[in-house]
């Protein structure tokens, strides 16, 4: 048993923290207030190589593992949860599937551009009538000579309008439900790709979320990721490790809330009621962090990690929500005023209990795994 971070992970954390606190954090309140994309933060992350954390060096990335990825997102989220989710979606569900399921040609074509940050990645699975029930998706990819023609509407797509490449899941026919789904690499500039409604959200105001509309979008067969009918497997595997990133994001928000509550208590004094609340908050965050790192560690060793990733996502995002609310409660009125990071944390944290598999879906995944494997 060794719960110490490896020296290279500790060094990496220190570097990301410096960037996050130095460049990302100063813009976080404004990004939230103006609902604007965190240009400075993403530029800095790009220049520091954070857009290619998981991509091997031979494809231009940093070649780091899932533990480093979790640390990266955690540190960014401690500064700005919007920035964290942009980098998270790009790195994991928006890029990793190419690494895991792409052929050599696809890897050479796309990974260097994603690793350098030239292209931002995105993941388009959800549809208006297909959320938790992802296998019921209705977007079609019709075979047409040497390629496919895609039609349909995807919804709640993170990095909408900013992404250069969308990994899109569509029905190629044959089997119903999961067996009839394939994955495609759809460049944003492809003809027929359009951004639909961009949503006003409760939080994560710097991270654009919206509809991706596909109208007779033609792509060559070379843009299909994995075999026909294997798309659902691609999506589920992508979400497994995506949940490690969301856990990191949750930890970052929660840690920031604990830090701000603590600073406030030191500044204005505190009684036992606040002390107990702070102790509970910190204990929750500590347990969530251990669970998240365990999932990342299993993943980095190529061992099964689905259950642990779902447990980490469930526990860390519930923790982030609770801790953000508790920190705001310690602050009182001062915390509810817009511009206070504490009210922002509350608004940001709520999304995490919902996206990349709602926490109800995580419970289904965990229970199913427990009932099958024990």
């Amino acid at each position: 048993m060794d719960l110490e971070l490896a020296p290279e992970h500790a060094t990496f954390r220190a570097a990301v923290r410096e960037l996050a606190q130095g460049v990302v954090q100063p813009h976080a309140a404004e990004v939230d207030r103006l609902h604007r994309f965190p240009e400075e933060a993403i530029k800095a992350a790009t220049e520091s190589g954070l857009m290619g954390v998981l991509i091997p060096r031979e494809y231009g990335g940093a070649g780091l593992d899932a533990v480093a990825f979790a640390i990266c997102i955690e540190e960014l989220a401690q500064a700005c949860a919007s920035t964290a989710v942009i980098v998270d979606v790009h790195t994991s569900v928006g890029t990793e599937p190419i690494l895991l399921f792409g052929d050599e040609e696809q890897k050479r074509k796309w990974l260097p551009r994603l690793a350098s940050g030239e292209l931002l990645g995105a993941f388009a699975l959800t549809e208006p009538a297909s959320g938790s029930d992802a296998a019921s998706l209705q977007t079609t990819a019709r075979r047409n000579g040497s390629g496919y023609v895609l039609n349909g509407t995807k919804v709640f797509i993170t990095n909408i309008g900013r992404a250069g490449l969308y990994i899109v899941f569509a029905r190629t026919g044959g089997q119903e439900r999961a067996g009839g789904v394939s994955a495609f690499l759809i460049p944003a500039e492809a003809s027929g790709v359009r951004v639909g409604q961009v949503f006003e959200k409760m939080g994560l105001h710097g991270s654009p979320t919206g509809e991706l509309v596909l109208e007779d979008v033609s792509v060559p067969v070379a843009n299909r990721l994995g075999a026909e009918g294997h798309g659902f497997t691609v999506a589920m595997r992508a979400l497994d490790s995506g949940r490690i990133g969301i856990s990191g994001q949750a930890l970052g928000i929660a840690q920031a809330a604990v830090g701000e509550a603590r600073a406030l208590m030191l500044e204005r004094g505190h009684e036992q009621g606040d002390d107990f609340a702070l102790a509970d908050m910190a204990t929750r965050v500590e347990s969530a962090r251990l669970l998240a790192y365990e999932a990342a560690w299993l993943c980095s060793r190529g061992r099964p990690f689905t259950r642990q990733a779902s447990m980490a996502k469930l526990h860390s995002t519930d923790t982030a929500m609770q801790v953000a609310l508790d920190a705001l409660q310690i602050a009182g009125d001062e915390g509810t005023v817009t511009g206070s990071p504490l009210e922002r944390h509350v608004r940001d944290a709520k999304a995490l209990q919902i996206y990349e598999g709602s926490n109800q879906v995580q419970r289904i995944v965990i229970a199913r795994d427990l009932l099958r494997a024990g």
Partner: protein
């Protein structure tokens, strides 16, 4: 034991319910988005006698009962928490006059509030004096037949739109909380300055002002109670208004739950309404049970206020803390029930979740409520 409302109370509630559904509910999203005070809804409430609920008939009102105030606040909050404060704060700002005012003061000051000609507000908190109300520094110096007030009041709901403002200030700064007195400021004759309006997490249509008193002259005839009685008045008012915040929290939770319940019956995944899944059903059961429990505590507290029961302080604090904690949990769960749709502004539940948070904080944070409850238990 009697869990029934009177026929008159039910009639008032039904009138408010209808008005709210027709006129307030359609405005709620826009009020939140623009952050503008809904003057039209204030007018609607005034014209329909709703702002007269906090006042007995002899002072131009229609009730004066805490139970009726709570029923009104609850109904309005189901659709729009910001609008529910129009009634709740009319009650809060008027309680000091009704409780501590002389007969002359009540007859003079209450009728324009009961008709809604004027809006009332209550100014206790200061930048350096929140939960520790006794630490206030606003001064009131007596000069002949008037007082001169100076200081800054913070987080004053409706401080910017009120015509009548109850202000607590030190008349004897050496005497700690025993030196605090209460004054009624009428805007035309004792004008205050609105320094800034806060941008908030929720209740965005309800202006929260920082107000500055720069040598504001107030006639001695507008002092409520004796000099030095202010702190006692402030606490007694909060005891009586807390069930109203509980009712607001209750209404917010009920509004969110009604929407989410309908949604889970309509939303289909895996070939069936998501309400058919046990995981969702357990959430529904827990939410409904919490709402039911909070409702009884709120109306029990309101009944204690109306009957001036000896333990009203404790029960009112319990109602406030329980209902507001409940509303925060329930609205968070209701967003969850709507999934991604719950998080976007096209649907009302994210607004309700943002609105719920303040009910745990204002009119005494829930930490203060716990202090109050524990103190009552240990005495």
């Amino acid at each position: 034991m009697d869990f029934e409302f009177t026929a008159e109370q039910v009639a008032i509630r039904d009138t408010i319910r209808e008005l709210v559904q027709d006129r307030v509910a359609p405005r709620a999203a826009e009020i939140d988005r623009t952050g503008e005070y809904p003057k039209d809804i204030e007018k609607l409430f005034a014209e329909n006698g709703i702002l007269g609920i906090p006042f007995p008939e002899e002072y131009g009102g229609i009730s004066g009962s805490s139970v009726t105030i709570c029923m009104g606040v609850e109904e309005i909050a189901k659709a729009c928490a910001s609008s529910s404060l129009i009634l709740a704060v009319q009650a809060l700002g008027s309680y000091p006059i009704l409780m501590a005012g002389s007969e002359e003061q009540k007859r003079r000051l209450c009728p324009p509030l009961a008709t809604g000609e004027k809006v009332a507000a209550y100014a206790l908190s200061e930048p350096g004096s929140g939960s520790d109300a006794a630490a206030m520094t606003t001064r009131a110096k007596k000069h002949g037949s008037e007082y001169v007030l100076s200081g800054t009041k913070q987080f004053i709901t409706h401080g910017s739109i009120a015509g009548t403002l109850v202000v607590f200030a030190q008349t004897d700064p050496g005497a700690d909380h025993r030196g605090i007195s209460a004054f009624v400021l009428e805007r035309e004759t004792s004008p205050w300055k609105v320094e800034k309006l806060e941008h908030k997490l929720g209740i965005r249509g309800s202006p929260t002002a920082q107000i500055v008193l720069e040598d504001v002259k107030v006639p001695a005839a507008n002092r409520l109670g004796d000099e030095g009685a202010g702190f006692k008045i402030a606490l007694a008012v909060l005891d009586r208004s807390r069930p109203g915040i509980g009712a607001q929290a209750l209404g917010i939770a009920e509004g969110a739950f009604a929407y989410a319940l309908n949604y889970v019956k309509e939303r289909r995944q895996f070939g069936q309404p998501i309400a058919s899944f046990q995981g969702i059903q357990f959430m529904l059961a827990d939410i409904a049970t919490q709402i039911e429990a909070a409702r009884h505590l709120v109306y029990r507290a309101a009944t204690q206020v109306d009957s001036k029961a000896p333990d009203l302080t404790k029960v009112a604090a319990m109602a406030k803390v329980f209902a507001s904690d409940m509303a925060m949990r329930v609205t968070t769960d209701c967003v969850q029930l709507l999934g991604g749709y719950g998080y976007i502004s096209d649907y009302p539940v994210e607004r309700m979740m943002r609105d719920a948070k303040i009910t745990q904080i204002y009119e005494g944070t829930n930490q203060i409520q716990r202090v109050v409850i524990a103190r009552a238990l240990l005495r």
